[in-house]
């Protein structure tokens, strides 16, 4: 399989879908001429022209709303919000409009809309450019939430998101754009709502998504050297959620550690942990544990910044403790 960077995999998905369906078009800030701040859309202006690759002024609320309006008349817009932090300027259009329109119409309208954005800590960008806000969208009926961790997943899930008839918030990670990985040479779609077991193990389950999947895999390697076999489940999409995979692994190992980068309080991990404990109560050897972002805005200084999110050692230590619990 050829190797692609995460950003290249995303670009390939956009390219293929734009070639396939003339209703697909892109809009966002500096995505055309400049190819996007993270270079995902590079080259697409040249291929598809300024009618379908559109640079917008800095007006997040309205250009997001415009994508909603275009979707309402049957187009398939893919709008880019440069940082998920900036999605906060467009929340009315995302939550009050995009998420509600299908329901409000009694199911008579379809809203095929993808909102691409990216989040996460890691480049010294401080409190307004480093948030992980998937929980805000996860809570809103009418939105799907997809968060790929690898180039192959980014590719296959973005294609499915574009073909999906409903609004999808597609959250990338700023630290993943330069990460390489194998991507199938032939066209491949991955269904939204299927988790991927990225490592099999019997002793403990690490549940994660996006950038933290890589830390979980690294932690699992460490654990293996200590004789602990961790299963690493990458949820890939939070809505729809692959409950079967989640509960299946939880029942199998009886020990679950949920790892996410977003702040722990009110993070998606709480919902998942509660769900697992409600549904797999009898199979659990210990309560589900959560390792997540600390309850703080993200600081600028390097040494503080890194301490805000779970590290590999920390994951391995928590998993090891959990693996030993109740034995």
């Amino acid at each position: 399989m050829p190797e692609l960077l995460y950003r290249e995999a995303l670009r390939r998905a956009l390219d293929e879908e734009m070639a396939r369906d003339p209703n697909v078009f892109l809009l966002g800030e500096t995505i055309a001429e400049r190819g996007g701040s993270f270079k995902v859309t590079e080259g697409l202006l040249a291929r598809y022209g300024p009618q379908r690759v559109i640079d917008t002024p800095i007006a997040e609320a309205s250009f997001t709303g415009m994508a909603v309006g275009a979707a309402l008349i049957g187009l398939r817009p893919v709008v880019e919000l440069l940082f998920i932090d900036f999605a906060l300027l467009a929340m009315d259009q995302i939550v009050n409009q995009a998420a509600k329109i299908e329901f409000i119409s009694g199911g008579r309208r379809r809203l095929p809309l993808v909102i691409r954005t990216q989040g996460g800590v890691g480049e010294g960008l401080a409190a307004q450019h480093s948030q992980s806000l998937e929980a805000l969208f996860y809570h809103i009926p009418g939105l799907k939430v997809v968060m790929p961790a690898t180039p192959a997943d980014a590719y296959g899930l973005l294609k499915s998101a574009i073909r999906d008839d409903h609004p999808v918030v597609f959250i990338e990670h700023k630290r993943l754009y330069g990460v390489p990985g194998p991507v199938p040479a032939e066209e491949t779609l991955l269904p939204l709502g299927s988790a991927d077991c990225k490592r099999r193990g019997e002793d403990v389950t690490l549940v994660s998504w996006s950038f933290m999947v890589h830390r979980c895999l690294a932690a699992a390697e460490q654990l293996a050297r200590r004789g602990i076999e961790a299963e690493v489940l990458d949820l890939r999409s939070l809505v729809p959620l692959d409950r079967q995979a989640l509960l299946g692994s939880a029942r199998k190992t009886g020990r679950v550690l949920i790892v996410h980068e977003a702040v722990r309080r009110g993070g998606v991990g709480g919902d998942l942990a509660a769900t697992i404990m409600e549904e797999a109560w009898g199979n659990l050897a210990a309560p589900v544990r959560r390792l997540a972002g600390r309850n703080t805005p993200i600081p600028y200084s390097r040494n503080l910044e890194e301490a805000c999110i779970p590290g590999v050692e920390e994951i391995a230590a928590a998993a090891a403790e959990l693996a030993a619990a109740g034995r």
């Binding site: 309205s62 309402l72 008579r108």
Partner: protein, 324 residues
Amino acid sequence: MDAAPSDKENGLPPRALLLAMYRHMFATRRFEEVCLDFYRRGLIRGYLHSYIGEEAVAAGACAALRPDDYIASTHRGHGHCIAKGADLRFMMAEILGRETGYCRGRGGSMHIASADLHHLGANGIVGGGIPLATGAALGIRVRGGDQVVISFFSDGASNNGVFAESLNLAGVFRLPVIYLLENNFFAVSTPIECATGCCELAGRGPAYGVPGVCVDGNDAIAVWRETRRAVARARRGEGPSLIEARTFRWGGHHANDPGQYIDPERLAGWKKRDPLALLRRQIDDPQAVADVESRVEAELAAAIDFALDSPEPDLPSFLAAIEP
């Protein structure tokens, strides 16, 4: 703020169009009266914002559209919906929360929408529909075609950021959208002078590269004329327009608001310029008008029966459709 209209553009609309406009205005007036009555009798819940007094704006503007053109509407949206050709039965059913309504009873008055009518939706968020309309215009451009979009909203919404943003976006992209600002001088109880330091709202257009005109919003023909010009411009690919139509609502903000803050004399002055009476005078054919009115009355009676006879939405199937 715009060049003087040519003679041809100042001409009267064809007679059929005049009667169609009147039909929409009369239907709106009567529909609203029934709704207000139903509201007082507890048959309608939630917010009910009456368009009485402002009918000429929707009727005049929509008369300049083709059926395949789009509109986006507001919380005060019954008039737009009727003028875009809505079936009174499905409207009434929606407002009464019935399964047969435009939105199967899920939306209610503030959310009526219909893909068939090319009606992008009423909106419970002030200003919320403006970007949607702008985006529909962008969508038209992307897929090719000469449709246009009208975005209806009022003075209050024009102080919200999305109005400025959208105006700017449409201006720079030269999108086929008409911003129809229904200046009724109030946002709830807040008079326009307390909401902005510059009450000449049409002037906001040029600040974003969009021509702006002000028109008598109680004169359906005047509204039609300006809208027609803006529509033609948009169809020619020359971009958006802002039309400020000055009008007045005859009651409080919603059915529950007595509107005591409205100066009675001022209101009386506006009522003297009743848009329906004005258009009747311009049509100058009492028999034709009476025919329209009686057809509307029959239609409305049928709509009421239809709606009241319709079932409420089915709870089990609603619950079954909810995703886990």
